[in-house]
């Protein structure tokens, strides 16, 4: 009798527990995404999306081809942004932005694949998100970033993320993103040697070129990155056929003509 009476209560409590667990895990997931959204908004505030749907679609097709194999739960979004600066950005939760300045330096889709894969690696390894979490921990006393829901906290988070992107990550994270980036692109079916091509192209910039200023102040030099990548087993990875590479290079040229 008692059991029968309690059954609805038990079901209700179980339901409540499941709902709480669900919202808790969603809150965790969405915090990373929310942080990423605020950081991406900051970058897009300076350099907006290129207003050409076909070009944005192409970037997303290449990007999603790479991340498909990772089976991660992120909602990946890729964007081409209007600036002559040569750079690419990843923000937590799967937002990836690449500049017109950078894509114009590249010659093949496989080279673009390396750039996007390097950024996807930052997201997967939570490089920026971990910096945000560390900062939050440090600033709990000031209680600015902890109360995540009000406007002033969002503004503080926005400013904090701007600083992270202006200052850059540590060198180790960049080298790791290069290695994991090559791993991701190769797994997806792109040519791992295209990574060498990208870094070679970046090597042609001089230190005082304003277009590469932020890239060079936030990353190890392209030469150091080449040396680090070539000290891996990169040259024994499977190489795709030349036909595919040429096909994709031709389609990349068409993409460049879109904007």
């Amino acid at each position: 009798m008692i059991g029968k009476n309690l059954r609805p209560l038990a079901i209700f409590l179980l339901g409540l527990l499941l709902a709480l667990m669900g919202s808790f895990s969603q809150a965790n997931q969405s915090d990373e995404e929310r942080v990423g959204e605020i950081a991406a908004a900051r970058i897009l505030g300076v350099a907006p999306l290129v207003d050409v749907i076909a070009a944005q679609k192409y970037i997303n097709l290449v990007g999603n081809t790479i991340v498909k194999a990772t089976e991660s739960s992120y909602k990946w979004r890729f964007g081409l942004i209007q600036t002559d600066s040569v750079n690419a950005f990843a923000t937590p939760g799967g937002f990836i932005l690449v500049t017109v300045g950078l894509v114009k330096q590249l010659e093949t889709e496989d080279e673009l694949a390396f750039v996007l894969a390097h950024e996807a690696a930052h997201v997967l390894r939570k490089h920026h998100y971990r910096v945000v979490l560390r900062q939050r921990l440090a600033e709990t006393a000031a209680a600015n970033l902890q109360a995540a829901s009000d406007d002033s906290a969002s503004a503080a988070l926005s400013q904090a993320s701007a600083q992270i992107y202006a200052r850059g990550l540590d060198k180790g994270s960049e080298f790791e993103a290069d290695r994991l980036g090559v791993e991701l692109m190769t797994r997806a079916g792109y040519d791992p040697a295209a990574s060498i091509g990208v870094l070679e192209r970046l090597q042609k910039f001089t230190g005082d070129d304003p277009r590469a200023e932020l890239l060079f102040s936030t990353h190890p030099s392209p030469g150091e990155r080449l040396d680090a990548l070539l000290q891996t087993n990169i040259d024994s990875l499977p190489m795709p056929s030349g036909d595919g590479i040429n096909l994709r290079a031709a389609r990349y040229k068409k993409f460049l003509n879109l904007f």
């Binding site: 959204e37 991406a40 908004a41 900051r42 897009l44 505030g45 300076v46 907006p48 749907i53 679609k57 997303n60 097709l61 081809t65 194999a69 990946w76 890729f78 964007g79 209007q82 600066s85 750079n87 937002f95 300045g101 889709e109 701007a162 600083q163 992107y165 180790g172 290695r179 090559v182 791993e183 190769t186 079916g189 040519d191 060498i196 970046l202 090597q203 042609k204 910039f205 001089t206 230190g207 070129d209 304003p210 277009r211 200023e213 932020l214 102040s217 030099s221 392209p222 030469g223 080449l226 070539l230 000290q231 891996t232 087993n233 990169i234 040259d235 499977p238 795709p240 056929s241 096909l247």
Partner: protein
Amino acid sequence: MNISCQRLASLVVRALFMTVTKFPIEVIPRRLFLLSFLLVISINGHSQTLKEESKLFDKPNGTALGASVPGKAPVKILERQGFWIRVEAGGRAGWLKASSLNFSSNPSGPTAIDTGRLGTGNIVSTSAARGLSAKDILAGVPKVQEVHKMQKYVPTEAELKLFSSQGNIVASKQAIEVKSLVSLTSQSVSQQKASGAAGTQSPKSVTKKATDDW
């Protein structure tokens, strides 16, 4: 007066030669000096050094060509095919594995001083560049609606499939892992020393340690 001017000019030219070519001037016969200087400047795309004594090959994955090129020798990159690079070193041309070069010694790149003599490889900066500097990011106003726009461009499963087949993109069926060979060796050695064991380290666990260290 004339002699000292000549001497000074010669010193300047020698210094310039060594800076640009990274080649010890003593190895060039005096009569060929000017010619070699001009030749080096004209072919100079990127200049790197060899990590250690290496043989040149006739083609990528080909056969070795005669004598070795000494370590630290300057090499000029002529072209690249995959992970092989065709270089000119010690007056000879041939192919080398990219990993036998030291790229961070390159005179161009972020630490370079642009003398305007680094050949056609360098990109000349444009003064009208619309930038995205650290200052811009710090002073910028966030645009959340731009972030929401990105959602529109996410491809469907069918679009992705078509894109892959049109571009002949075939996902690799092999397990792919990019491992740092340097830290692998040094870590294996240090871990073996620490444990005093002669057993081999599982490559996966060692790589994990190396990649987590940031």
